[in-house]
Amino acid sequence: MRLKDLLFLSYTTLIRYPLRTIMLLIATSIGVMAVILLTAVGEGARDYITGEFRSLGTNLLIVIPGRNETSGGGSPAGLAGLSPRPLTIEDAQSLSQIDNIRRIAPLVMGEAPAQYDGLERAAPIIGTTPEFLIIRQWEMESGSFLPGASMRYSPPVCAIGKEIKSELFGDDIAIGEWMRIGDRRCRVAGVIAEEGRTIGLDVQKAVVIPVALGTALFNRDSLFRIMVDVENSSRMDQTKQSILSLIKRRHQGKEDITVIKQDTVLQSFDNIFNVLTMALGSIASISLFVAGILIMNVMLVAVSQRQAEIGLLKAIGAQNKQINNLFVVEAIMLSGLGAIMGLILGHSVTYALKVAFPTFNFLPPMWASYVSLIVALLSGIVFGLLPARRAAKLDPVEALSGNK
C-alpha cells in the first residue's frame, strides 16, 4: 500500500468519527500543553533566579568567613565549638590594597525594630557602604543612599525601602526625618526604588545603614560577608588569590575565609533549576502516557466496531501487516495531531501568561516541545500497536459475520 493511501484511509476514519477524534485530540493536547507550561514555569524560575544573580554583575567576588572545606573527621576546633575567626571591617578596608579591586561592600545583616512617630516595624537591617548601591545596581526613588564616609566612621543616616517608608511615614516626606533603629537613631537620607529581593530579604522592607553603625547596632565585630567588585574580570582568579593571601596574613597565617565567584553560584543555581525543570517536564509527560492509554482504549473499541470492515479488507486481499499499519497510523495521526494542537495551545498560553505577568518570564524551553512531540508520537505507536495487532489477527470469516 502506498503511504499516501495509508494516510488517506486513516484520515477518513478520523473525519468519520469526529467526536471520538476531538476527544482524543483534546486528551493528547492537554498532555503536551502540560509539559510546555510546567517546563516554561521551571525555566522561567531559573531565568528569574539566575537573572537576579547576574544583575549583581559577573565581576563579583564574595568573601565569606569560615573555610568551606571538609576537615577529616572532627577537628579539635570543631569539637571545642570554636566559630571561625570573624571577618572584620578592618579586613574589608585592607582589601583596597589589591589593585584589581574597584569596589568593596562589607555586609552586616540582622533584624531590628524600626520606629517613627510611635509606629514600629521589625525590619531587616543591612549594614554596608555606598558601593553596595552600585554593585547591586539599585536606583533611588528619592534622596540619596549612604554618604561616602570611611567604613570605620559614618554619620547616622539610612536609606529605606518603599514598603517600610509607606508603613512608617505614610504619604509624608521621610527624607530628613530622624527614625529609631533598635537603640540607635538615624536620619533618613533616601528611599530605594528597588522592588525585588536580595540576599534573601525583601528590599522594600529593608533599612540600609552604614556598616559601622550596623556592627555597633548588633554589637558584633564580624561581617556577614564582603562583596568585591573586580575591575578586570579576566584577572578574577588572580584577585581571588590575592584576597586569600592578604586575609591569611592578617589572620595569623590561617586561611579561614572562602572566596566564591559569582559564576560558581550562578552555575549551581542553573543546575538546580535545570533539574527542577526536567522533573516538572517528566511529571507532565505522565499525562501524555495517560492520553496514550486512552488512545489504546478507544482504538480497541474501534477494532471491534470495525470488525466487518477488517474482514472485508482481508477478503479483498489485505495482508495482516497492512491492517496493522492502518490502525497504527490512525493512532499516530491522533497522537501527532493532538501533540501539534498541544504545542500550539501550550505556546499560546505561555505567551498569554507572559503578557499577563510581565515580571515573571515564562520560557518554554525548545527541548520541551521536541520531547513532548516525540513522547506523544511514541505513546501513539506503543499504545496503537496492541489494538492494531488484535485487528490484524482477526479471523476473516468471523470478522465478516461479526457486525455489519
Binding site: 502506498r2 473525519i15 470492515e309 479488507l313 477478503a315 479483498i316 486481499g317 495482508q319 476473516p396
Partner: protein, 225 residues
Amino acid sequence: MIRLEKLSREFQVGNQVVHALDEVDLVINENEYVSIMGVSGSGKSTLLNILGLLDTPTSGDYILSGINTSKMDDDEMAGIRSTKIGFVFQSFHLIPRLTAFENIEMPMILSGIHPKERSNMVNFALERVGLTDRSDHRPEQLSGGQRQRVAIARSIVMEPDVLLADEPTGNLDSTSGKEVVKLIEELNLSGLTLIVVTHDREMGERSNRLIRLKDGKVITDQSNT
C-alpha cells in the same frame, strides 16, 4: 481450475465436533457457472469461505489453478485473494465513509497500484456495472441494488479468475435482485468463473451446474442444460 480432494472442515462447538464439510471432492472448471444450495448448516458458506481462502480446511487439499493452497501462509493467501478471487456478499460490505469510487478502488489501493492506473480501471468497472454517474456517492446515498453493483464492481476491478457470491440477492427486492443476477451472469459470459451460494431456487436453476449440500456432504451435483 478448482479441485477439492477429501476436504474436511471441523468446528469445535462446546465439547462437540461439528463436521461443516466432510471429505468433499469437487472439481470446478474455468468459466463454469455453479450454484451451491442447501439449508443453513449444510456447509455451503464454509465451502465458499474455503474456496475464497478466508478459511482453511482441517484436512484435505484445495488446489487452485494447479497450486496447492493448504501450505500457504496468511500473506500468500491474501495475495491470491487479491489477484485471483472476487467476493460479493449478501450485505454488500461497502466501507460507509468512502465513496463508490473509493470503495471500488480499495483492492487496488491495498495492492499498491499507481493512482493513475487505478482511476482508469475503476472507471471501467463503474461503466460495466452502469454506475458511472454515481461514482462520488457514498453507500448511504445509494439504493440496495446500486450498492450491490458497487460491490460487484469492486470484486472484478482486479480482474480475478473466480467470482464468489454469497447470497448476492438476499438483501434485495426482486427487481434489483434480477438486475444483479443479470450482471454477474454477464460477467460469467465474458469469461469469469462464477460460484454462487443461494437459497433462491430460481437462481439455482438458472446456473449451469447445481450442487446441493447436506450435513457437509455433496448430495447432488447436476448440470442444467
